[in-house]
């Protein structure tokens, strides 16, 4: 194997030597090769991520027909609209509540899975991760059907307990509850997997030492598990915060923002304003409001990831 490689290398270099030394040096130089290897990546990011991001900034300063520069006109227009402030509020409620419950459920279930014998863990883990595997647009349809007002499986079941029909998607409070519930259902398995991986990396000796010192289960979690998992909890939470904050599929399919725009998030409202009402500048403007929160979360994630890299 090695002989072949050597021969090939010699042949290539002898061919190149004939073509001239300077060209060979340039082509063979490490940085040149590296540049060509990363070129497609750089082009992709520059043309389809960075350029649209800045284009969005430019779009946000145009009027609806996109013929005139209006400066910050779209922004001041948004600030005056009540719907906008409702979207801001709902986005924050949605993201924070959903992430907290995802993290809690993930943490609790991870402990239960960690408790049971190793062989069975695989099976349970496989079952509990299913919500994360199904495309969210598809599973949200199942939820939509479960929430159905007239033939709803939930209301049918609840009627046996004497609980009246609940307007799952028809009333503001319940609609907000439902979109958060579906998001928690979809996202909790991700936390579960991350926390389970983190739990397995905590050395058993630490728990034994804590047990000898007379720590109860709560103290073990508070003084051993949480400090050991701190970094992974931070990264997972921040990451999920970004994804949840920018969520589109679930709200779009479940409520389309209704009733009376009370469940709109930035993404779904931007879609309605920018694409459905074809006011592209205003839509771009709405989605730009996600940037500050995403940026803050991204900075913290980057810090934690780098810290992790340095520790290893």
């Amino acid at each position: 194997m090695a002989d072949v490689v050597v021969e090939q290398g010699r042949r290539v270099s002898s061919v190149r030597a004939r073509k001239g030394r300077s060209l060979r040096n340039t082509l063979g130089r490490k940085s040149t090769v590296a540049f060509f290897l990363t070129l497609p990546l750089i082009l992709l990011i520059a043309l389809l991520v960075l350029y649209p991001a800045f284009f969005s900034l430019y779009l946000a300063t145009l009027n609806k027909a996109m013929t005139k520069f209006v400066g910050l006109g779209n922004f001041t227009f948004l600030f005056k609209r009540e719907t906008f402030w409702m979207v801001v509020k709902q986005s924050c409620i949605f993201a924070v509540t959903a992430v907290v419950f995802k993290a809690l459920i993930g943490f609790i279930v991870a402990h239960f899975v960690h408790n049971i014998p190793g062989k069975k863990q695989r099976k349970w883990r496989g079952m509990l991760l299913v919500p994360w595997v199904i495309p969210p647009a598809m599973s949200t349809l199942a939820w939509l059907w479960l929430f159905d007002p007239s033939y709803s499986a939930f209301n049918y079941t609840l009627s046996f307990f004497g609980v009246g029909p609940i307007p799952w998607l028809g009333e503001t409070f319940w609609a907000r509850f439902s979109v958060i519930l579906v998001n928690v259902w979809y996202g909790a398995p991700f936390f579960l997997i991350m926390y389970l991986a983190a739990l397995k990396s905590v050395p058993d000796q630490l728990y034994e030492a804590a047990a000898i010192d007379g720590a109860n289960w709560w103290q073990k979690i508070w003084y051993v598990t949480l400090p050991m998992m701190r970094n992974i909890i931070a990264i997972t939470t921040l990451f999920s915060l970004i994804v949840t904050f920018a969520n589109f599929d679930i709200v779009r399919i479940l409520t389309s923002g209704g009733p009376l725009d009370t469940t709109h998030l930035f993404a779904t409202w931007a879609f309605q304003v920018g694409i459905q009402s074809s006011d592209i500048p205003l839509g771009a403007c709405v989605s730009l409001f996600m940037v500050p929160i995403l940026a803050v979360a991204a900075i913290f994630i980057l810090r934690d990831v780098n810290k992790r890299g340095n520790e290893a």
Binding site: F35, P40, V109, F112, V133, Y151, A270, S287, L294
Partner: protein
């Protein structure tokens, strides 16, 4: 012999109580796991239940959790409808092309970023990670406008063409795949590729003969990720395509099976189940790779 027995007798009593505690902890764990499993598995199971019902049974006021007259008519209808097969076809081709494009871009880039330190390589790696954090809901409006402008300028139809999606999706898959491939490549011992270079291998030969075979598990994880992301993508196709023959599966099911206010739930659930099938099948067979890819994003790097 007797001392040994006495020695053992002491700890066993303690162990007995401890193991009883453990047994109870185990029982409680199972109890709660069953509860959570019910919560997590209700929607997919309900999909299966509904997909086996006829429209008459769905609108009848019977127990929704049980199938009294199972029928496969929903499956037969959908799988023989050209429209649905078209959605399936569009989704499959797009996902396969996206996987190939993603691998072609991210493997060489990850190789260069992991092994060849060059000017700006650390910044670029950080940039790749940051790009991964940019959500689709931030970029769909400018991308839509960009496609419209290019279309007007060159006369090439870009909007409402399903294959254009195959060039947009890599923005969602490439950053993450590059990121986890950097992690996998960086974990390969330097001695391996140094030995190859000393033997006269070129950079490309080291990539193909050493890095790709050794990092194959990471490669599979990245492939699964790219496939599932492009299969599940909902926002971009919803914005960029409108004609029925240009839709992909998630958008096709949500827009065409809901006719006005009439919900044909049997078919919608069947469609959703068939749409969820490819990722679920991949997951069933390659669960470990799937989980490796999932955890690699935050733990490697």
């Amino acid at each position: 012999m007797s001392t040994l027995a006495i020695d053992k007798a002491g700890p066993t009593r303690k162990l007995g109580s401890m193991s009883r505690d453990r047994a109870w902890a185990l029982r409680w764990s199972y109890f709660f796991l069953v509860l959570f499993a019910i919560f997590f598995l209700t929607p997919p199971l309900y999909m299966v239940i509904t997909s086996l019902k006829s429209s008459a049974e769905i609108s009848a006021a019977t127990n929704p959790w049980w199938v009294f007259h199972p029928t496969l008519s929903n499956y037969v209808e959908l799988l023989s409808s050209n429209q649905f097969l078209r959605f399936f076809w569009n989704s499959s081709i797009i996902s396969i092309v996206v996987v190939i494009v993603t691998m072609l871009i991210s493997i060489p880039a990850a190789f260069a970023l992991a092994r060849m330190k060059f000017w700006g390589s650390a910044t670029l790696a950080t940039g790749v990670f940051l790009t991964y954090l940019i959500p689709d809901s931030l970029l769909f409006i400018p991308l839509f406008k960009m496609l419209a402008v290019i279309q007007d300028f060159t006369g090439i139809t870009l909007l409402n063409r399903w294959y254009v999606l195959a060039f947009i999706y890599p923005t969602l898959t490439v950053p993450f795949c590059t990121w986890i491939m950097i992690g996998y490549f960086a974990s390969i011992p330097k001695e391996l590729d140094e030995a190859a270079i000393i033997d006269g291998a070129s950079w490309l030969q080291t990539l193909f003969r050493i890095f790709i075979p050794v990092a194959l598990p990471g490669l599979i994880a990245a492939t699964i990720f790219a496939f599932t992301v492009s299969w599940a993508q909902f926002l971009y196709p919803l914005v960029f395509t409108t004609s029925i023959d240009q839709l992909v599966l998630p958008v096709g099911i949500t827009t065409t099976l809901i006719k006005g206010d009439v919900f044909n739930w049997g078919q919608i659930m069947t469609g959703a189940l068939l749409g969820a099938a490819p990722p679920l099948i991949i997951y069933a067979f390659l669960m470990d790779y799937y989980i490796a890819g999932l955890t690699a994003g935050a733990t490697k790097g």
